[in-house]
Amino acid sequence: MAETSQRAADLLQARGLTRIFSDRASLFGKKRELAAVSEVDLDVARGRVTGVVGESGCGKSTLARLVLRLLEASSGSIHFDGIDLAGVPAPALRTLRRRMQMVFQDPYSSIDPRYSVRAALLEPLLVQGVQPGTAAQDARVASLMAMVGLNPTLAASYPHQLSGGQKQRVGIARALAMQPDFLVLDEPTASLDVSIQAQIIGLLEQLQQDLGLTYLFISHDLGLVRYFCNRIVVMYLGRVVEILPDARAAPRHPYTRSLMDSTFEPDPTRRRVVTLLHGEIPDAFDLPPGCAYAARCPQASARCRSDRPVLTPDGAHSLACHHPLS
């Protein structure tokens, strides 16, 4: 019963999501395995912004692709609006994908350079088998461009004629073309100037409010995530290490703490104390037996190096650490 009502509140639920990649060290070398995402449980609340934060290589982009089934999971389950995605055959999945869309990190490579803005915006409709008449097409392109704040005169422009910010607006408009209710935003501002980043975040806030969208927001910038997200999932080397129930919650995992100390505020009276780290991120092909963060963690003990801490809920907060900060 409780399970059912929780499922109604969450638009997306993933359980035990794991994705293994394998490769060979050399042509005839031994096959090696890497768990890019390992036993991740993820709840995305309807109409809210859930953030996933971590450094390059922590598995956050793999997670984004797994929840949309752009990549198949090695194990684990994903429910979208109560539907088990694993059991959905390809044609039905395509229809379901109208409701779940993705905005990619790099608008420079995610839009076909040979497509005009108009063609790029109409493509999702054609792929989905919607064939509107010319007048309806014009109206659709105009309304999408208005929605993302693009001047309608740009409809005939090609990507090379647009700025980075304009291109990312096209990327967002494309994702909105099928009127989805769930958007995965994979570092949508990472390649933009901060002035343009703030514009795009403002646009995403506006769209969420106007259209009642649900977001999964992927970023390496905890400052931005704390501003934009209602709930924050912190990942390190494929695993969730902490879940902050809201943006104001104080971090209790030393890794989350170091992410926070790395985001600089525009205020010289609040300079961060940055501790220079000696350790390096371990090789993902050869993870140590204990906590993956132990090599870089100032609090690490012998127990951390042998015994991996399990993600444990404490109220709405969850934490995987033997020596949490108070």
Partner: protein, 321 residues
Amino acid sequence: MALLDVRELSVGIGALQPLDRISFALDKGSILGLVGESGSGKSLTAMALMGLLPLIGGRVSGGSVRFDGTELVGLPEQHYRPLRGHRMALITQNPMTSLDPMLRVGAQIDQVGELHLSLSAAAAKARSIDLLTQLRIPDAATVHQQYPHQMSGGMKQRVVIAMALAGEPELIIADEPTTALDVTIQAQIIQILVDLVRQRGLALVLITHDMGVVAQACDQVVVLYAGRVAESNTVDAIFARPTHPYTQALIACIPRTGQAPGSLKGISGMVPSVGSYAAGCRYHPRCGQVQPICQGEVPALREHAGQRVACHFAQLEGAHG
């Protein structure tokens, strides 16, 4: 006397003038932030200081750059070479392109010591390993033998910093040294640079578009917009009382802890390209406080008590009339 004294520096490329009368000065042991969006002329300033404009078909079209008393504008290339990489060093934005992919990183650092400090191969190598260790690179002797593709972005940027330090420079110009990196690595690199300035008395010009980085690291700030100085001041004063609307807008782009949802403000529009600058104040098409005079008259860069600002409506601190 300031170590670096830039006065009314203008840069021309063909018929265009992308940099228009930039002035600033920098002492040993301090950090000057050169800040603005892409296209504001920050990297061009770095190229001009390093005497690298001919590489991109540019030239200094006016003004002066004095480094430790020596005029660099018009300095013949054979006199520039012993300075560049030795007394003044450049750290570029992208460590992926500033290292030679075909050479071991150690050899690339060693070269600097051999060339500029006339060290023997063995001495240069020992010194490179020492530098890498100081930059908190674990197992520096192994890293010294690696190729760039074997390293992470943060590690490569530390190698580039080691190359810059290898010539024992007095001035480092760092052009967006952390833009391509994760925030945790960015924080580490910025801290390393700040420590170097404080411990060795280096002077650092830190070029960035991020007011968060400026607030964290800099002593002095020069805000550039479309090739001109919009405002300059000490870091404390510029954040406490940003006077130019562009400075205010740049600061408002960075979220603060506890900032209310919906209150983050971007800057509408974008930096114009060289050649399509607006008449009058170049910022006026994007400015929320624009008045008719801004469209017709170029605002003078007014100076008072260490603050400089180019805006018709700026009230200078403590100035009257």
